[in-house]
């Protein structure tokens, strides 16, 4: 071992010991803030493979049949869950949530990610806040826990429900691992890189990966996204009509 290496190791141990003695947690990157879809300097906006784009996915026969049946049902209508006020769900939410911004609020034991579209919220628990597997409630965004590996946040999501309409359709056995880290581009823009690996023995023969980049929005704000008002208004109109007819 070279003298330089010995010196570095010793310094690292000393720093770790000092942190342990003082009771401080290691300094972590702070992802808090509003983020929007990142575009490389000079690149066209709104890129990405989108629905149906990109190379063929390594789907099992069962998955291919389910997705084909779904697409046949939708036909040329172009219907989407979002068009009916249903949230994007994972992994669509972490891969862009329809192009709307997201907001991260970070505490050491919990990170909340709010996607503007449909006011979708993911709560990511760390350490003692992590919920036991048996107590988790399945949903379109599943249940997420996380840990740090140096400056990278590793988020694991389980308890997803089957979603055949996703760009990466998956079963309820899917498990998604996201790796979040901060970088800065050549223009000085703070960029949050989110690498995703989806494993699903029911829908895929091998893991599926994708990467999403988010650009920091200085002093950004999310807007409220109410979507069900029209459905409620129509319901009230029908109720009024029925009431009048019954008199």
């Amino acid at each position: 071992m070279s003298r330089t290496l010995v010196t570095l190791v010793a310094a690292g141990c000393l720093a770790a010991s000092a942190a342990a003695i003082s009771g401080q947690t290691p300094q972590r990157p702070d992802f808090t803030g509003v983020w929007t879809s990142y575009t490389e300097p000079g690149a066209a906006r709104g890129g990405g493979p989108g629905r149906g784009g990109g190379p063929p996915l390594p789907m099992t026969d069962e998955a291919q049949k389910k997705v084909a049946a779904y697409r046949a049902l939708i036909g040329t209508s172009g219907d989407t869950p979002g068009g009916h006020c249903l949230g994007t769900g994972m992994p669509g939410s972490m891969l862009g949530s329809g192009g709307y911004p997201m907001e991260i609020v970070q505490r050491p034991e919990q990170i909340n990610i709010t996607y503007e579209a449909h006011n979708e919220v993911r709560r990511v628990y760390l350490g003692d806040r992590i919920v036991p597997m048996a107590d988790r409630v399945p949903g379109r965004n599943g249940h997420s826990s996380a840990r740090w590996e140096g400056d990278t946040l590793i988020v694991e999501t389980t308890h997803l429900v089957e979603q055949v309409e996703q760009r990466y359709a998956h079963s309820d056995q899917a498990r998604i691992v996201e790796r979040y880290r901060l970088t800065t581009d050549k223009n000085g823009t703070k960029v949050l890189v989110a690498e995703m690996t989806l494993t699903d023995p029911v829908f895929y023969t091998k893991p599926v990966t994708d990467t999403k980049r988010w650009a920091y929005v200085p002093n950004g704000h999310l807007l409220p996204y109410e979507c069900a008002e029209e459905g409620w208004r129509i319901h009230l109109e029908e109720l009024e009509k029925k009431t009048k007819e019954s008199k």
């Binding site: 575009t39 989407t80 068009g83 329809g98 503007e116 579209a117």
Partner: protein, 138 residues
């Protein structure tokens, strides 16, 4: 406002189509490669999600009729300059739309010129192409 157009143009259009399009009337029935303008008097306007709704009373040499339109989400339009109260019933406005593919009157509102001449919205691919051609001196 022009700044908003340039910043939000393609991105807002792409994002609206990518996930929250679909809607009550799906965006696939609109041709976003084309653009058209419709002028009329506002009969009904709803700044809602996932898509704005607008009914315009149009009068021209074909007569007078009500034209139903939908458009980008209120959130996307807000980021493209829309603010509460900019469109009111009775206003005469002009909207820029991606027309229906089947040729029926109507379309998907991507931008509007309000009664007082204010403007909000994003550009269609056809408009961006025209601007590009203009900039290139074609």
């Amino acid at each position: 406002m022009k700044h908003l157009w340039s910043v939000l143009g393609a991105a807002a259009l792409a994002l609206t189509l990518s996930a929250t399009a679909g809607a009550h009337h799906s965006a696939v029935q609109y041709d976003f490669g084309k653009s058209a303008t419709i002028t009329g008097v506002v009969v009904k306007f709803q700044a809602i999600n996932p898509h704005m709704r607008l009914t315009l009373r149009v009068t021209d040499d074909k007569g007078t009729r009500d034209v139903e339109l939908e458009g980008h989400s209120t959130n996307n339009m807000y980021r493209a300059g829309y603010r509460d109260g900019l469109i009111k019933v009775g206003d005469k406005i002009t909207v820029n739309v991606a027309p229906l593919r089947n040729g029926t009157e109507g379309g998907y509102m991507v931008a509007a010129v309000t009664a007082n001449g204010g403007r909000f919205g994003v550009q269609t691919a056809a408009e961006r192409a025209r601007e590009r051609e203009k900039a290139e001196g074609k």
